[in-house]
Symmetry: C2
Subunit: 312 residues, 2 copies
DNA sequence: CTCATTTATGCTCAAATTGAGCATTACTGG
DNA sequence: CCAGTAATGCTCAATTTGAGCATAAATGAG
């Protein structure tokens, strides 16, 4: 039963390439922001990760700091388009870098990821975008029977922190999938899924195929990752103030942090050291500049530890 | 640059199927314990996960509770063996089930996973298997220069909890990879990697190809998972005592837990409820039987929470 | 020059969580 | 009745976490 010859498929690599600029989390897109960059797996690549790294670097002209596999899926729908070649397998990667001023090729551009997921940004006000609470209720009410209605209501409450529950910033994918099922994102309409609110809200900017889902997966992974592994430094310039660092983490998490506690955590972790320089004042008292400590980073990147960068 | 037609490859699914029986963590193997079960991705599978689920269920004759994607990799070495078909992509899955007394087909059998990773079991005595400490020192000393020797020493210390560091049970993959690089596992010898200890220790039972690495990935993932999502219940019978539950968690973690604290945690989480029945005494005072609470499980499986099942 | 404003930074405190251990209870087998 | 083995109930100190007060060091308006 095992030992069968595997069937033939085609493979492509899709990248969620993230940077943080001026407190905004950005993702590299192509085709006017409607697609994630993707490239074919080609025979000369030594590994999947090497393949992703090489073609993203060629396209963006700067090195990727961190690359991590996200998810692999096979899309049956694409069969037809591939001329009987069998199915297409997509292998997605999360990559981190510093946004460079360099020119991007073709229609590539950096976009604020909250353009695609406006409901994920809770940095000012924890309120959900206007149509959401009502639309979620409508979806729950549209369940076929009492049990389904209850289950939907509970699911919405967990995913969106309703009914006194607290918002869990890591449930990015669950929220997107719920909105998709509820017909509240444009991709759902495209795929023929009904919506129970009129006019049907189309939350956030859509993407082609399932790229927005992949992006959601990447955001979720990154939000989880920063709580137990020091990956933010891949997104920071060489020198930065503690507030810069905090703003970056907040941008990713979509939530504000307690300043003093954040500072305490960073110091405890010994992730950074003073450079001796002072930042040119932006507003008030000048801040010390810091840099990451290479030795500690290496160790932590390998084994992880306690929360390297804080919770809400 | 993107939008290229992906290249043609072949795809196989590999499963790390785990059960816990009588306090032993077990993994399903084929070919006298030298391989993980694997099957081809075939066109009728609706998705990769469905494919894995269906052929594992067909082989083992019982349903999988939980299936999760582990990792996808492309092995360049296998090119030759596939007759110019392009490379082979392997997509691995972690699956949980209860070991059934049913007969397995062919050469399939359940094996204690510590047969493959004896150094991972710290349930009695935290001591590493005899040759390890010395072999690790020898490997570190064999570094080309001072910097490499220091880096190796630190890496070994982190991975194996030496020099006063504490053992981190989640670093299963890092440890296996270090042992591979150090030539201390049979697969390394097979692949022509040198060892600096004579006679060269060949720790644990080897597997074909990189299946042991995949198993290490699965163990690591599962050990991490049980700390933030209640997946153990997939491995438990319908009714169990709290000690049964603790023994199962300990089997997976490879570490003993504080009994009272474990109990406190389980109760806090409200994951279980009494059945009203009492276990036939095995040793001392009879224990109450518990079962998992379906409602809570569903919620926790979706969103996770604090540690559902304890730390060391 | 003084003051309101803004951000940096140092410290404190109570609540919650975690790690470890003591004591008691309820069975089983000589 | 006694020793052995588990189950269970509680306590306690050390940490960790969440929130806030207070002060310092700049800037710009008047």
């Amino acid at each position: 039963m095992p030992e069968n010859r595997p069937s033939s498929v085609s493979a492509e690599l899709i990248a969620v390439l993230v940077a943080v600029t001026a407190g905004a989390p950005r993702v590299l897109t192509i085709a006017q922001g409607t697609s994630l960059p993707s490239g074919p797996l080609s025979p000369e690549h030594r590994s999947l990760q090497a393949g992703t790294r090489s073609w993203v670097e060629r396209q963006t002209h700067h090195p990727l700091g961190y690359v991590e596999q996200l998810y692999t899926f096979a899309d049956n729908d694409r069969n037809a388009a591939l001329g009987g070649f069998g199915r297409a397998i997509s292998i997605s990667y999360l990559a981190l870098t510093r946004e460079q001023p360099k020119t991007l090729e073709g229609g590539a551009s950096w976009r604020d990821w909250y353009d695609y997921f406006p409901w994920e940004d809770h940095r000012e006000g924890a309120d959900l975008p206007a149509p959401l609470p009502g639309a979620l209720r409508a979806w729950a009410q549209a369940g076929a029977n009492t049990a389904e209605r209850r289950a939907r209501k509970q699911r919405a409450a967990i995913a969106f922190g309703l009914e006194g529950r607290r918002w869990n910033e890591e449930l990015v994918l669950q929220r997107y999938e719920l909105l998709y099922e509820a017909g509240l994102v444009a991709e759902a309409a495209r795929d023929g899924i009904a919506c129970h609110t009129t006019p049907a809200p189309r939350l956030g900017q859509p993407m082609r195929q399932d790229h927005r889902r992949i992006l959601a997966t990447g955001i979720a992974r990154l939000r989880a990752k920063i709580t137990y592994r020091p990956v933010v430094f891949e997104l920071m310039p060489p020198n930065f103030t503690l507030l810069d660092l905090q703003r970056s983490v907040e941008a990713l998490a979509g939530q504000l942090l307690h300043k003093q506690n954040f500072r305490r955590l960073v110091e405890q972790q010994e992730l950074v050291e003073e450079t001796g320089q002072i930042a040119e004042a932006t507003g008030g008292r000048p801040a010390k500049l810091f840099r990451f400590r290479a030795d500690i980073l290496q160790e932590r990147a390998y084994a992880g530890t306690k929360p390297p960068l804080a919770r809400a």
